[in-house]
Symmetry: C4
Subunit: 223 residues, 4 copies
């Protein structure tokens, strides 16, 4: 198993999942009230769409940073990657549930956002599994030194902890919990060197990714 096909398959899943998100925003067509009225009542759908879109986008960026540093693809890595994708693929459905139930209010709205939090927590756990796997010696191009492993762990575990907080917080206030998951996305968009990017030292923000094949070691090969 080479890394390129792991990336190609994962990219396909990320691409389909992120595109399916938009289907939740379809209106019902004529005969269901004016279009303006329908659109006005869909605001939870827009908010949830944007949050989920950037959440999947960011996890894709971090997935790539992590995988591009991997030198050996084992069956365990493939299994951990499937666990990550199992939850990524659930994001469009969880997003649709939030969009449908947030305005209904009551326990249904809280449960919908809690479900969303569980799916994102599962995604984080899958990602954490891959990151943990990559910390072992000989698995990445630029290994993480033993004394920096706990720092790396803290970084990739913190996202999962926030999503766990989203899940719990949802039972207090669905809107606040959804906003919190949005803040995670905003944080990662503006954070210059993400947790995953620094694991193994991939200096993705300043190194040139040359267009020609034999450029340099990290990330020089297209998938």
């Amino acid at each position: 198993m080479d890394r390129g096909r792991l990336e190609a398959f994962s990219d396909g899943v990320f691409a389909v999942a992120i595109t399916l998100l938009a289907l939740n925003l379809a209106v019902k067509g004529p005969g269901n009230g004016t279009l303006a009225h329908q659109l006005g009542h869909m605001w939870p759908g827009y908010v949830a769409y944007v949050i989920s879109f950037f959440t999947i986008g960011i996890i894709w960026v971090n997935h790539h940073s992590l995988v591009s540093n991997v030198v050996v693809v084992t069956r365990l890595l493939l299994f951990l990657n499937l666990v990550l994708l199992l939850f990524v693929v659930l994001i469009p459905v969880a997003t649709a549930t939030v969009a449908d139930y947030l305005q209904a209010g009551g326990f249904d709205a809280k449960l919908a956002v809690a479900l969303y939090g569980i799916v994102l927590t599962g995604m984080s756990a899958g990602f954490g599994g891959i990151a943990e796997w990559s910390l072992r010696p000989g698995r990445t191009l630029v290994p993480v030194p033993p004394d920096k492993r706990w720092a790396a762990r803290l970084r990739f575990m913190s996202g999962g902890l926030v999503y766990l907080l989203v899940t719990g917080c949802a039972f207090l206030s669905a809107t606040v919990a959804l906003g919190l998951s949005g803040l995670v996305a905003v944080y990662y968009v503006f954070e210059r060197t993400p947790a995953a990017g620094r694991i193994g030292g991939t200096a993705e923000t300043d190194g040139p990714a040359g267009p020609a094949g034999p450029a340099g070691p990290p990330g020089s090969q297209d998938g």
Copy 2:
């Protein structure tokens, strides 16, 4: 982050979005009037399908021209690319809304086409963000000389301005506005050297894209 995976993910999103467009043309099945009658009433769907199909196709071509010239992939570029894709992914839903409401007429038809214009304006803005990013020194293989930057800006901003015009024009006449967005697609299909293609000087129309890896600098590496 290497350019290849940015292209692979974007290609996946473009491919799924362009394929989902056709789903809007599904008929309702037996028991909803004769098939001929159903098909006859779907003409706004066919028109919107063809316009959206070529619009996505052209933005894909221009996206590639632009990205193939990039030598360094930063987090900011990835974020700008996500903004572009955020709107690309909305095109199938906006197209379906136009198809559903154009024949209804009245304010709903106008609002549907205005929405379509907003989505295309957003897409243009996302593309313009990437193009603007690429104008800075050291980011592209063949840099744009400082004295030609405003000319390049004008070229990639003009598409967005037309889509803004589509949005405003929709409130006067939904059909005229939709036709205008179709003219943009026709223009870009026949325009030999598109705005994006000339940024950085990628001579895509006359240079051979060799099949072997070590061919030449621009566009010589498959994604």
Copy 3:
């Protein structure tokens, strides 16, 4: 524009279109008669699914044979490729219409199969456009000699003529016309050297496609 990304985007569209075909076979769920009864009435769906699946599969194979021989990617080629994909993407919808209306009988069944024939004819025309483009000197690795161009044209035009026949024949008998489109697929599966495969002399059936990059000229580079 390099050939690899043209292939990657087209492959994505082919893959999504071929996968969406299966969605037509979904049953309605409990409360719509026994499952056995529902499945028994869906036989036109199974037949149409298998025909469309292999039709898309074969056009994908031929598309690759043709494109792998191309040495220069022009805007015109990209436009012709979009015309091909415009019709490929309609196949799942046309297949669903056949599956829904074939048992209804009468004019609706005939019209449904005629529509299917039109979509396949359009696909053939798009493919023929690419093939015609590739006949010009300097566009393919192994050019077609001038005296063999008409033979090549006849080969890639014959598929389109049969689909035109399917369209006309549908108004006489929907079932016979559908069967005829199935025969085209069967013919191309068993035909050892397809029309497209021989254009430009790509000897795809006997030449080894080496796994390493610098293997040989035709088809040695992965997309």
Copy 4:
């Protein structure tokens, strides 16, 4: 035809099919009972989702192991690959049918799981066809010695036999048969060297898949 595009197309189909699985878990929205009640009644959907997700994931891993060892891509291989994909693409629909009918009980539940078994048996047969094809001399990088061919055959046929057992067993107990198909997935996740992985001797679990192009013969080229 080169191997890379065979992989890219197949990866696309696998990725779309695995993502569509999750759509079966969508809830009906407000006005259909409490969300908690709806979610509680969907447990067959969750179970079927997880089983199908890992089943597709595993067949993807095995498909890659097998194909990465192939040195010559013939039309017959492409046809056998299409047969495999024909059934892979049916998995989301078969999974939805199981999810819908398992709780209904009676013959419908049994028939739904039997259908699921038939689709998985077909997928296994398609995979077995590719594996059988690869046993012939000159088709793989590391050929299987003649005296080990029957051992290889037994390994890739055993999966199909279990799925045939699932199909038959479904008429006795739908739940037990579904559980059996889940055990196959669990078995392949934990099985260190799968049937397909060992055909042709691809030592995928211990060999480094180098990130640079000119690494080594098996699996050194990204798709």
